[in-house]
């Protein structure tokens, strides 16, 4: 309940900030009655109304049996996973696809309970295979990064 209220309030604040951001949107010269400002403001307004209702009357969350309560351990794991994804995004071009996916894939497999050696073998093979499949077979260009010296 309290989490939901906090979330609704936070989203409400975001809505307000976006509405302020949208206020100066005006076409330099216009030949239509509705400018670029009306639609986003309308949506933000409606969303704000819904969120206000949610702040005062939060709906109970139906919890499924297989979803345990969030504890500290899970939260650390989730932040670690998010961190890995961010590292992935930032090294994707610099290190190249193969190296960066091995770099984050192995720790990620560890997070989900794999063993070091198993994780390494699976992730390394998969990233090589996926590179070959997408870049060579399916023509989806992927960055080679550091490994580009090996090419040719």
């Amino acid at each position: 309940m309290i989490l939901q209220r906090i979330f609704a309030l936070a989203l409400l604040a975001v809505c307000a900030a976006l509405a302020v951001m949208a206020w100066p949107y005006q076409a330099a010269f216009s030949y239509e009655p509705v400018g670029p400002r009306a639609y986003p403001l309308l949506m933000l307004g409606l969303m704000g109304l819904g969120l206000l209702y949610l702040v005062f009357r939060p709906t109970p969350i139906v919890r499924k049996d297989d979803e345990p309560e969030l504890d500290r351990e899970t939260l650390t794991k989730i932040s670690a996973c998010v961190g890995l994804l961010i590292v992935f995004a930032s090294t994707f071009e610099a290190l190249g696809f193969i190296l960066s996916s091995i770099l984050i894939g192995v720790p990620m497999a560890r997070l989900y309970g794999g063993r070091w050696l198993h994780s390494f073998i699976v992730v390394a093979c998969m990233s090589l295979f996926l590179y070959w499949l997408f870049d060579r077979v399916m023509d989806v260009p992927l960055p080679l990064g550091l490994l580009s010296v090996l090419e040719n």
């Binding site: 400018g35 709906t59 979803e67 497999a109 198993h118 699976v122 998969m126 989806v140 992927l142």
Partner: protein, 504 residues
Amino acid sequence: MDTLSYLGQGFGVALSPYNLVTALTGTLIGTVVGLLPGLGPINGVALLIPIAFALGLPPESALILLAAVYLGCEYGGRISSILLNIPGEASTVMTTLDGYPMARNGLAGVALSLSAWSSFIGALIATCGMVLFAPLLAKWAIAFGPAEYFVLMVFAIVALGGMAGDKPLKTFIAALIGLFLSAVGIDANSGVYRFTGDSVHLADGIQFVVLVLGLFSISEILLLLEKTHHGHQAVKATGRMLFNLKEAASVFVVNIRCGLLGFVMGVLPGAGATLASAVAYMTEKRMAGEKGNFGKGDPRGLAAPETAIGASCCGALVPMLTLGVPGSGTTAVMIGALTLYNITPGPLLFEQQPDIVWGLIASLFIANIMLVILNIPMIRIFTRILAVPNWALVPVIAIITAIGVYAVHATTFDLFLMVGIGIMGYILRKLDFPLSPILLGFILGGLMEQNLRRALSISNGELGILWSSTISLSVWALTISMLTLPLLRIWRKRSLQRRAMADA
């Protein structure tokens, strides 16, 4: 008779060897994707969009591929719910109720083939319905002007909330988030940059694939962290693989009834497979009464939701093709794919590009037949895929998702955006917000704004144009009835509670 000749032409397109191979690949990929935990039809279709584009598939083949993947995913979800008692997604929850007991009774093979057969009949009924009604609807839809379209989209969004049942307010908020997100980027009419924060990467708006994969794949990866388990032991599929005639005959009436029901539910925007399967199961259970063996492995309890799911999946394509208004999350993704090819779904699609429409319809027939045939020899291989542990699966999902996102624009900005959207999606999921309304809102948002502005340009700012024609008035009436639906439900619940209080 035009329809029949067009359908023949469609089969000509779908039966070309190239498209047959495409459909086969699609069903195979779809089944595997649907089997894996954490990947459903929405991710499956979204991942394939950039790939289909990069492969340089012609539009009709790409659409056939995506439709085949869609059907395959629905089929794959069924395997895990029957053999593991774990529904791959919301729509297959009803399948587990009787499918898993059947598998426990040693009828796993029969249950699987019977469910494939049921869903085939459902899809067949819905496809016939589509052949009959879609052209009519398309003809009628030409009478829609911008004002009518705007009202129709308001209806679609409202119907989504009204149908969602238990949490209308959260559904509305989710849809509004999607509607708002569609406004990010350069405004096509005036050239004003909206909500881009002076970033070049957002000038084009948020890429659809990025939104889908962030919301669904990344948030799913984070959710899987909460329940780390090491693969599952599936019920062994031994013995008879194929149902016999007696079993098929015993569920035939159920098939027909639920097929019709599923088609109607699929056509309605927002209802979709989840609601269709639930309603079908409940109705059949009530009709069987005391005699039924529901919940303990009654074939009818398996056939009912499966037929309804098969029918509603095809039914959902009707509003997408004729009106350009998606009826479900997956069809919203398919519209996203069509726009990549510069094809605007809508009434004119039937006249301008009959090859695409009828080729798609014909390939649905073919993909369904393929799924029934694939089921028998492949089931043992499919069950083995279920044993893949999460630690091997999740990094691969993450890597493939990143490829899918990177393939759109080849910028790492999209990867960061995907992670951000994924975190947002995870939080929303934890707070019990449904995610597919965001997608529908995102797809409808752009169209909605354009139509609203166009309508008001026609009337020179006069709001009256929005309720000036009979079509728009009747759609408004439908919208209002949809709005009162959840209120009525709440009111009824309260009065029941009060009566219970009075009794006690």
